[in-house]
């Protein structure tokens, strides 16, 4: 694991919610252009780890450095740092009062200070990348779940992030809509985007991931290339987890 | 600061005025005890009438309700108190207040109960009727209890407004709390009695306001 050239380097992350110890010293180091997959049962802390990486969740202790910027340093402008970290949510979280174009261009205008024309040009380009430019003027409620999630991806990539975090991006989708979102993610990967994905799409992990982390009870139990994790799992808990998946 | 206290929180003045303030409070309580049940009763009747689907009932009912909601209650009160005597109808202050409040508040309560009844799925009525209950029984035992629960925050809120509204009775010289406070103020040339009345209203109604705020937030959280 190359630590020097890492884009995202989270070390020794602990997180407590009240007396619940959700993360118990987790390391997550991601190299440029790498796609890291995080799997594990619900409640294992994967989403919390992801949310610590852009400080939507405040880690109780540990360090998070993204693109050379120490996120937990008080002097860091967290908003400037977050623009370099794209995030895609399970429930899309599109702004219901704005069109697809408005959703994508809002941060370009208000955070990067682009003019309306510039912002909309970039937004159109981002929507084209996710194959939804013809829906630019549609409101979220007029879009299918899969389309909403693709707009949410466009919203993140329009800011040209250095790394993207996906928090169960397909869990809220009907099965027939999952494919479209995965296709966009695959294209993103091929374009060289660095990605961290929390998901249950094991097929996608097998095909596209460089590295897979298995988390349980707030710890990384096992990690390695997908062939090893899925082909010859060592940890008993990982084997149990994969067995349960097959059964469903 | 001392002068401010002596002006607005003059305990001596308040002590001297306290007997008539208490008399005023007593009249206010009597007004509440008359106005709230009458308004609730009128509201239930209006809401039940609104379940009748005929437009011969529906449109007059909407007109009636909107008419009394559009009328500022003080205007209605003045009409009853100062207008009707010209037609030989002397209601007196208490009568004018009682009738005015009934017409005004029952329209508001009526709208609330109507919204509550409309929030109950049709299946409830059908299920109740299928067990042999009459329409009236189904309404009384099945629909209304659920309806009331659904609109409880609105009912509490409107009742709070009715209680506050009793202060306009002072305009027609009914000796309730505000009227007595103003009498005391004009005799002593000191506003402390009005401040005292305000404090009494606040202490009386603060628990209701707190309760309401919690009910409203819970209603928002449930969505």
């Amino acid at each position: 694991m190359l630590s020097g050239g890492a884009i995202l380097e989270a070390r020794g992350i602990h997180k407590h919610f009240g007396h619940l110890h959700v993360l118990k010293g987790v390391d997550l180091v991601v190299a440029p252009r790498e796609l890291v997959f995080i799997i594990g049962p619900s409640g294992s802390g994967k989403s919390t780890l992801l949310r610590c990486c852009n400080r939507l969740e405040e880690p109780s202790s540990g360090s998070v450095v993204v693109d050379g910027i120490d996120l937990l340093d008080r002097r860091t402008d967290i908003n400037a740092a977050r623009r370099r970290i794209g995030m895609v949510f399970q429930s899309f979280n599109l702004y219901p009062h704005m069109t697809a174009l408005g959703n994508v261009s809002l941060a370009l205008r208000r955070v990067l200070g682009r003019s309306r024309e510039e912002a909309e040009e970039i937004a159109h380009a981002a929507l084209r990348r996710v194959g939804l430019d013809e829906k630019a003027n549609a409101y979220p409620l007029e879009l299918s779940g899969g389309q909403q999630q693709r707009v949410a991806i466009a919203r993140a990539i329009a800011l040209e992030p250095r790394v993207m975090l996906f928090d169960e991006p397909t869990s809220a989708l009907d099965p027939e809509l999952v494919g479209g979102v995965l296709k966009v993610m695959r294209e993103l990967r091929e374009s060289g985007m660095t990605m961290v994905v929390v998901s249950h799409e094991m097929g996608f992990a097998r095909a596209a991931a460089d590295r897979v982390l298995f988390m349980d009870h707030g710890l990384v139990v096992e990690e390695g290339p997908p062939a090893q994790i899925f082909g010859e799992p060592r940890a008993e808990r990982l084997r149990g987890f994969l067995r349960d998946l097959d059964r469903h | 600061m001392d002068e401010f206290v002596a002006t607005f929180f003059n305990l001596e003045v308040v002590r001297a005025a306290s007997p008539i303030l208490l008399q005023g409070l007593w009249v206010t309580v009597q007004l509440i005890v008359v106005a709230v049940p009458l308004g609730l009763l009128g509201g239930v009747i209006l809401a039940l009438l609104s379940t009748i689907r005929s437009r011969w009932v529906r449109w007059p009912l909407i007109a009636w309700v909107d008419f009394f909601r559009a009328f500022p209650p003080l205007v209605l009160l003045m009409f009853l108190y100062a207008g009707l005597p010209f037609a030989g109808i002397e209601l007196g202050a208490f009568g004018a207040v009682a009738i005015g409040f009934f017409l005004n508040t029952s329209s508001y309560y009526g709208e609330i109960f109507r919204a509550g009844i409309e929030s109950i799925p049709r299946g409830q009525m059908e299920a109740a009727r299928s067990t042999g209950l009459t329409a009236v029984q189904a309404m009384t035992w099945v629909i209304l209890p659920q309806a009331v629960r659904n609109v409880l925050p609105d009912l509490v809120s409107n009742t709070l407004e009715v209680v506050k509204l009793t202060s306009i009775a002072s305009v027609v010289a009914l000796p309730e709390l505000l009227y007595q406070a103003r009498q005391a103020q004009s005799v002593t040339y000191n506003p402390s009695p009005i401040v005292a009345a305000a404090v009494i209203y606040f202490l009386l109604l603060w628990p209701a306001v707190r309760l309401l705020s919690r009910l409203e937030h819970r209603a928002v959280a449930r969505r």
């Binding site: 949510f89 955070v111 | 500022p72 003045m78 009793t166 103003r182």
Partner: protein, 226 residues
């Protein structure tokens, strides 16, 4: 004269009405003006308080909650009377118009703050997170993402509350504001005939029936749509 003619002669006396119509019209426009001022300042102040409250600074929020509770608990007429008859004792002498405007502004602001705050809380947490994850700050998120949604949610309750409070302009008659009711009452005492009051009642209906109908329309238009 039949009873009916007697009734018309008493309550719809054309001569008296003609004489007092100009006064009632003056009162009408003063009422509209006062109501507009109250709506503007009350809603603006209420929104401001809700925005300040969303910063969640403890002592500030306690103060806001107390003030909101205070102005929700006190009868508007008590506040008007207190300002109009009380403040002269310390050398301030607000006119009846200013007293009524201030009082009802505070009352409307208190109710509006509660409603706006409930609206802000009703916007899902994911909206905050999505906006913050794109690098928008707290204030930007509040202004561009949360408030537009919150305000939409609050339109029906806010409309009804605003209408109810603007009807309180009639309370200004108690402190000598020359609005409709005041003009009508004066007309009744001068002419010894209730027709000016009839006229005043009609003026209120002309003003508020459309407003109440509008409120009804808003309620159905925005109900459960998000």
């Amino acid at each position: 004269m039949t009873n009916w003619e007697q009734f018309l002669f008493t309550f719809f006396n054309a001569k008296v009405m003609a004489a007092y119509l100009p006064k009632i019209i003056d009162g009408f426009f003063l009422t509209v003006w006062l109501a507009l001022l109250i709506v503007l300042s009350g809603l603006a102040l209420g929104l401001l308080l809700a925005v300040v409250r969303s910063f969640r600074i403890r002592p500030v929020n306690w103060l806001i909650v107390f003030l909101v509770d205070l102005f929700r608990a006190l009868p508007p007429l008590v506040i008007i009377v207190l300002i109009y008859f009380g403040l002269p004792s310390v050398g301030l002498a607000p006119s009846g118009f200013v007293s009524t405007w201030l009082s009802l502004t505070f009352v409307l602001a208190a109710f509006a703050e509660e409603i706006f705050w409930a609206g802000i809380l009703a916007v899902p947490k994911g909206q905050w997170e999505a906006a913050r994850s794109t690098g928008m700050g707290f204030a930007q998120t509040l202004g561009w993402v949360v408030l537009p949604q919150a305000v939409r949610l609050t339109i029906p309750p806010l409309t009804n509350r605003t209408i109810a409070i603007t009807k309180g302009t009639a309370l200004g008659s108690v402190v000598a504001v020359a609005e409709i009711l005041s003009q009508a009452s004066a007309g009744v005492s001068f002419s010894s005939n209730p027709s000016p009051l009839t006229l005043g009642a009609i003026a209120y209906l002309v003003l508020f029936v459309p407003v109440v109908a509008f409120g009804r329309w808003v309620e159905t238009r925005f109900a459960w749509k998000r």
